[in-house]
Amino acid sequence: MSEVRYTDQHEWIRLEGDEATVGITKYAAESLGDVVFVELPPLAKTVTAGGEAAVVESVKAASDIYAPAGGTVTAANSALEKEPSKVNEDPEGAGWFFKLKLADAGEFAKLMDAAAYAKFVEGL
């Protein structure tokens, strides 16, 4: 059973057990344009909610990816290093960035659900 939440910085986070997967939303991927490079966090790195965790670059822009919730990095999607286009093709699936072991599940619960995020994007 998994549950997906969203941030106002356009990251998504999917919780399965105590491990969460993080990526950028379809909306973010479309506004970035063709992704040409991603920089992933090293394993075992500790991140805090809202802290810089990864970088995504298109031809003309570089954006930081923030950790939606605090925790320890348990995996990084190294396939993106060779094929950054996956971020555009399947941002909320194969284009995931990293996985976290959450420090505090409460942080996850505070994030927007799909309906709230859809409303948030509509308002932009």
Partner: protein, 531 residues
């Protein structure tokens, strides 16, 4: 042509000249046998043209090699061999694929593409300057030191500042020099001030420089009228603020009218005022930055004083300094004594009171740019420098006044300085993007204006005509832009879609270039790519 996943052409044979798809200047059926079109020649990388010839005649001297410390080269370098006529033809053909200020109006806002007088080139090449060694005995370089001294006098007089550091090699290098002087001054005061305030409209070099110099950057918002929010700025001042970095005239092409107030508030808070001098060309000979309360300002000799841009350099970025910072200027220092002029090259030899923060580079700065800039200044004189600033401002306002009925000007109510800023709201719902609009200018024979900068204006289009254009030239340019804007608004988009059509290349695949960077020529590169 089908493309593989690297964005390169597939099934291309590797011959000396890579086969070229038919050009775009005329319909496809008019493709030529050679791939060239009249005066437009395709030209392969020089590595595909070599055939073991040489372009220099040098004797074949044999050496023993026993004085080379055992590290004599074992393998060939891999350089191609061509004769002189082949090399000349290659680079002449390449040159013809470039736009240049000598061939057309170059309205790049914030870049100042003005006329580059050829006398400057001639003077820089006088053997006494061009063939002078930086470490030749100083008794044999007095004319060069005198030239630098005269240029320093021009720069300090035009800016109303007491001192100038000459060694920085470009604008960003000058910024760094200024910020390091500020850092040194704060250290001398025994104060730790980690924060630097930078307006969000600033050139990218400003925050990059502040970070480079070890400060953290705090952005100051802009007001709806395109000026920095001085109240927000003042609210951010405090005992931890080292400096503000402010461009004036600012990157929207507007003068910051509250500048003297801002400078006073900054000084009252114990901080320094770094002014980005990239736009000094609007006010040179009219306004002295020293009268505005500036503590440090770099001057892009390749903008304001017309040393050529050369396809991206070299530049020169001397930094004028206030009394509060002058003592910290880096070595070398130029002093006059009984023997004449003398360079002080070692910090330990600095005269009393001078506390140089360090050294920006080897030797003494961009002498080749100094000789060009001084030639330009002497040619113009103070009256000509003033007239040039006035003409630059007049021309920009003329462009603004002539186009604001069809192109949207976010700050079009008042006069601008040397740049006319438009945004892309006039293209809304036309089906023409900002990029399309700019690229369509290429087909009309113009270099596009600066786009997407400054960042504070959505879809910014920044036009800097400079003082070098005649009224006829401005009128033709205005007519073209006016017509393009009218066409776009009428949704007649054919000429915009996929433009440029008439340039040596159509739009280039930048995504492919960034995803799989090919940064050097390699033998048979196309075969590799087809894997």
């Amino acid at each position: 042509m089908t493309m593989n996943n690297q964005g390169r052409p597939t099934s291309v044979e590797t011959s000396r000249r890579a086969p070229i798809a038919p050009g775009t200047h005329t319909p496809e059926e008019l493709s030529t046998i050679s791939g060239d079109r009249g005066l437009d020649h395709e030209e392969a990388p020089i590595f595909e043209l070599g055939h073991g010839a040489t372009g220099v005649d040098l004797p074949d001297v044999q050496i023993s090699g026993d004085r080379l410390g055992g590290v004599r080269r074992k393998d060939a370098i891999g350089l191609p061999g061509l004769s002189e006529p082949e090399v000349i033809r290659h680079y002449v053909r390449l040159s013809r694929m470039n736009y240049a200020i000598d061939s057309g109006l170059y309205p790049l806002g914030s870049c100042t593409m003005k006329h580059n007088p050829r006398l400057n080139e001639k003077m820089a090449r006088l053997p006494g300057f061009g063939d002078l060694h930086p470490l030749a005995p100083q008794s044999t370089t007095q004319g060069a030191l005198e030239l630098i001294s005269q240029l320093m006098n021009w720069l300090t007089t035009l800016t109303g500042m007491p001192a100038v550091a000459m060694s920085p090699k470009a604008g960003a290098h000058g910024e760094l020099c200024g910020m390091l002087a500020i850092r040194a001054a704060l250290q001398a005061r025994g104060e730790h001030r980690p924060r630097v305030l930078v307006p969000e409209s600033a050139h990218g070099t400003n925050p990059a420089t502040a970070a480079f110099a070890g400060f953290t950057v705090d952005e100051v918002p802009a007001l709806p009228n395109g000026r920095v929010d001085s109240e927000a700025l003042k609210a951010k001042l405090g005992p931890d603020v080292a400096a503000i970095m402010l461009t004036n005239p600012n990157t929207c092409g507007l003068f910051e009218g509250e500048i003297i107030d801002i400078a006073k508030a900054v000084h009252d808070a114990g901080a320094y005022f770094y002014c980005d001098g990239a736009n000094f060309n609007a006010i040179a000979g009219k306004v002295r930055p020293g009268d505005l309360g500036v503590d440090a300002m770099h001057i892009n000799l390749h903008k304001t004083f017309s040393t050529p841009h050369g396809g991206g350099g070299p530049g020169a970025g001397p930094v004028v300094l206030s009394d509060r910072l002058a003592a910290y200027a880096p070595v070398p220092l130029l002093v006059a004594d009984a023997q004449g002029l003398r360079l002080i090259e070692d910090r330990d030899d600095a005269p009393d009171g001078a506390k140089p923060f360090g050294r920006m580079c080897a030797f003494h700065g961009q002498m080749g740019m100094f000789s060009r800039a001084l030639t330009y200044m002497l040619s113009h004189g103070r009256d000509g420098v003033r007239q040039a600033s006035e003409d630059a401002v007049l021309s920009a306002n003329y462009v603004l006044a002539s186009l604001k009925d069809v192109m949207s000007a976010p700050f079009g109510d008042g006069p601008c300085m040397h740049e006319a800023l438009f945004d892309d709201s006039f293209l809304h719902d036309t089906g023409v993007t900002t990029l399309d609009f700019a690229k369509a200018m290429i087909d009309e024979g113009y270099h596009p204006m600066t786009m997407y900068f400054p960042l504070v204006v959505h879809g910014a289009m920044l036009i800097e005509p400079t003082e070098s254009e005649s009224k006829d030239s401005l009128d033709r340019f205005i007519h073209v832009l006016h017509t393009l804007a009218t066409e776009a608004k009428a949704k007649r988009i054919e000429r915009f879609a996929g433009a440029p059509h008439l340039a040596p290349r159509r739009r280039l695949d930048e995504t492919a270039a960034a995803r799989k960077p090919v940064l050097r020529w390699k033998r048979e590169p196309l075969k590799e790519a087809a894997e």
